[in-house]
Amino acid sequence: MKILGEKSLSSKVEKGLKILFLIIVLLDIIALGITCTSAFFEFNSLSVRENFIIRIILEALIGFVVLLTGIVALFIINQFIKIFKNLKQNKLFEKDNSKYLNKISVMSIVIGSLYFIIFIGTSIFLKYFNLIDILSNFLLKILILVFSVSFLIFGIGIKILNCIYIKAIEYKKENDFTI
């Protein structure tokens, strides 16, 4: 199967990523709507509850971080779309691709760090101050930790791959200028 050029695997992946991009945009909008409405109803119904304001604020903060990571994830997908677009046009060893990979690695590390902050914040900080532990579900905590570590490893992995890619571009340039 052809990897580069028109009607190749790259062009199919690019189309798939564009669809994924739209799906994530829709999911983000739906998630934002659900979060806002549930927060509104919770705020109205829970008038007498211990630490409920802190809970709502923290929930809103976590919701904000989750939405923020969603936007960053969209940015990552957009960079991948650009890379596959270049591959579709047979632009393999381009400096632009390296730039996109670098952005992807930085954004992945940002997402991983944000989820790690949520994990640490909810696990240690809240218990230390005897507040309500929002993420009381153990499985949910583990899921967030796995998510965070996965993104951190992915980001570092892409960073290393980018270094190799930069070397490959240099070798290609050297090869092109060898007469």
Partner: protein, 67 residues
Amino acid sequence: MSIIVNVDIMLAKRKMSSGELAEKIGITPANLSILKTNKAKAIRFSTLEKLCEVLECKPGDILDYEK
């Protein structure tokens, strides 16, 4: 780059055109231009051999070093 390619001088000495040289050594005029303008990163021994053969000279006549 401190390595200087003196193909131009040798071409003038032999009264040969760039196109003719490119054709005789089997490289494209664009690649010969890269060589002449000192943009080349490396030169293959086979290319150098052909250059010497066509221009009837030694590698030292084509390549020079400047500090």
